[in-house]
């Protein structure tokens, strides 16, 4: 029978299945960070259990770490305790790799896995973090899990899961200049809604996805979770294989050839059946900006903020009303009239080298508007930072008035000092525009890196296509 890629990934990892379909899936890669792991390590220890396979673990500290003044260490004592707890736990337990605070390969957990070749096609990947779906870009089954599940995986190397339904999101055609992976995925969420993928595993396909680099595919898969899906992934092709060649933890020599032969099978069969298919025409996608407090509240740069009365469903209408109030926007306001206070270029959605290059193209030879209080560029990892500096991108940003920071999650969730003050408005390349996400009372608009740079220059949302 013809199989979807999801079927193949699922079936190759089932260790045991209960009668109701709940399965034990074997986990190949376990990514660990400081926020969601302490209670899991503690639980393991209290129960007197040993970790099943430490060579599956890759760990780093990212959520709490500061992005400036590293010489001062982590000044917030509670954050420091959490990062130090991870140090202690990994020292006690062991890992394939650990990139602690200040290590040159430290960075956002979803950036360091792929760039070191620790994420490989055909793997099951878990992490106590919802954006684990990012790793699906490599043809992986990558689940974000809770802390109890982190403990479960540590103890048993397995995850309890029930199979989802399979959805194919097919995006064909060619995107216009200035339209990026971020715009594709925001447009998709705008179309299907944040619960549109609930209960589904999404495979992203079509010529527009095939044309994306691995960085772009990671951006798309990263936000699969924002569409409600449990996992999102892209089939393996030559782009995937070329990216992995010679990466630190990628197979070498004879193993490489064997692996590549297997990886090439990680595609949906031509006549495989999906439970749902969603289609999007790439050529119709324009640069996107969210206006509300959920990623589905999004419009094209040439569009406007809606009015509550446009919605007939009372729950939706109230949601829109509340969002407009929180965001301090008036109905029907053109989005390119909305002025911003801060800019954040970073996060596991958009902090890879290609993202920084796209922002730098816009920033080059221009200057951040005087009305913008802070424009941050936070590379996803130490390796991304080093690469960007080798290309001179840091100089372009600094000359344009951006701050060039150390890697980490930073203002994506504002657990460190990088945050919005109440009422401040931010053009952000992250993935969530929830109330208070970037700081209590902060107002987040999600955009691509190029659009964030354009907003920084204009002091308001602007169509990046006019700046290219």
């Amino acid at each position: 029978m013809a199989k979807t890629l999801y079927d193949k990934l699922w079936e190759s990892h089932v260790v045991h299945a209960e009668e109701d379909g709940t399965a034990l899936l074997y986990i190949d890669r376990h990514l660990v960070h400081e926020v969601t792991s302490p209670q899991a390590f503690e639980g393991l220890k209290l129960a007197g259990r040993k970790p099943w396979r430490i060579s599956s673990i890759v760990a780093t500290a990212d959520h709490n770490t500061p992005t400036s003044h590293w010489e001062r260490g982590i000044e917030d004592p509670i954050s420091r305790q959490q990062v130090e707890t991870l140090d202690v736990n990994i020292r006690e337990v062991g890992a394939l790799a650990y990139f602690p605070f200040k290590d040159k390969r430290q960075g956002i957990v979803h950036v360091i896995g792929p760039e070191n070749g620790a994420t490989l096609p055909g793997m099951t990947v878990v992490c106590g973090d919802s954006h684990t779906s990012t790793h699906g870009a490599f043809g992986c089954l990558a689940h974000g899990i809770g802390t109890s599940e982190v403990e479960h995986v540590l103890a048993t190397q397995c995850l309890l899961q029930k199979k989802s339904k399979a959805m194919l999101v097919r995006i064909d055609g060619k995107v216009g200049a200035g339209v990026t992976a971020k715009d594709i995925v925001l447009a998709l969420i705008g179309k299907i809604g944040t619960a549109g993928g609930t209960g589904y595993a999404i495979e992203f396909g079509g010529s527009a996805i095939r044309a994306l680099s691995m960085e772009g595919r990671m951006t798309v898969c990263n936000m699969a979770i924002e569409a409600g899906a449990r996992v999102g992934f892209v089939a393996v092709d030559e782009t995937t294989i070329a990216y992995l060649k010679d990466k630190t933890f990628a197979p070498k020599g004879g193993d490489w050839d064997k692996a590549v032969a297997y990886w090439r099978t990680l595609v949906s069969d031509a006549d495989a059946k999906f439970d749902a298919v969603v289609e999007l025409d790439a050529a119709s996608i324009v640069p996107q900006v969210t206006w509300g407090t959920s990623p589905e509240m999004v419009t094209g740069i040439n569009g406007s903020v809606p009015a509550p009365e446009d919605y007939s469903d009372p729950v939706k209408r109230e949601g829109v009303e509340r969002a407009l109030q929180y965001m301090g926007l008036t109905p029907r306001m053109p989005i390119n009239q909305v002025k911003i206070d801060k800019v954040f270029i970073g996060s596991c959605t958009n902090s890879r080298i290609e993202d920084l290059r796209a922002a730098a193209v816009v920033a080059r030879g221009r200057h951040v508007a005087a009305s913008v209080k802070l424009a941050l560029v936070v590379p996803g990892s130490g390796l991304v930072k080093a690469q960007a500096e080798a290309e001179g991108l840091d100089k372009i940003f600094i000359a344009a008035g951006f701050e060039w920071r150390q890697p980490g999650c930073s203002m994506c969730l504002a657990m460190n000092d990088d945050r919005l003050e109440p009422g401040e408005r931010c053009a952000s390349t992250s993935n969530r525009n929830f109330e208070g996400r970037q700081g209590n009372g902060g107002r987040t608009h999600l955009v691509s890196p190029a659009m964030a740079a354009a907003a920084a220059i204009a002091g308001r949302f602007a169509d990046v296509r006019e700046l290219l």
């Binding site: 034990l24 917030d76 919802s130 809770g146 109890s148 048993t156 729950v315 109330e435």
Partner: protein, 212 residues
Amino acid sequence: MEKFIKHEGLVVPLDRANVDTDAIIPKQFLKSIKRSGFGPNAFDEWRYMDHGEPGKDCAGRPKNPNFVLNQDRYQGASILLTRQNFGCGSSREHAPWALQDFGFRAIIGDSFADIFFNNCFKNGLLPIVLPKAEMDALFGLTEHTPGYRLTVDLAAQLVVRPDGHAIPFQIDGFRKECLLNGWDDIGLTLRHAEKIRDYEDRRKREQPWLFA
């Protein structure tokens, strides 16, 4: 894990869609390395007028009188009614920990976000999905009837209203068993240790690069 067999309790209506885990427990509280003590900060930004920080005593903080959980008539509620896509966003298990620490045993809604839904079961908190028409009726009844209570009967898979109307709900057999017995997943899984080892041995032969 605490068993869940049958629970009867006061109901509070949170009539919002897309309540995300950042709202359920804001990020500053995730710096804790413990599992307990999150209850006073559940819905922190909606519940209090000032900004909450870990370690701050919540007793004297000004409360938002308009937020439903602060209203006198809902004090002591243990069943939360909500709308679609509850628990969306971050995978933080601090969200179910906070809800449970606050005193909730069951959450009844139109739909739940996937990871949150999963996390609830690991903590003896029961998420229940009911059809929209039943939800609308429950919201109406709760708002119009002071002291409105419901009974959640997991064994029978029913939400029972005081007027006797019983609403059936679905739950996976395996999850139900675990809740009814208070079983710990890890202990259950380790019964299959032999199978896990066999699987691992086979993968090591077939795909050695995964074990480098």
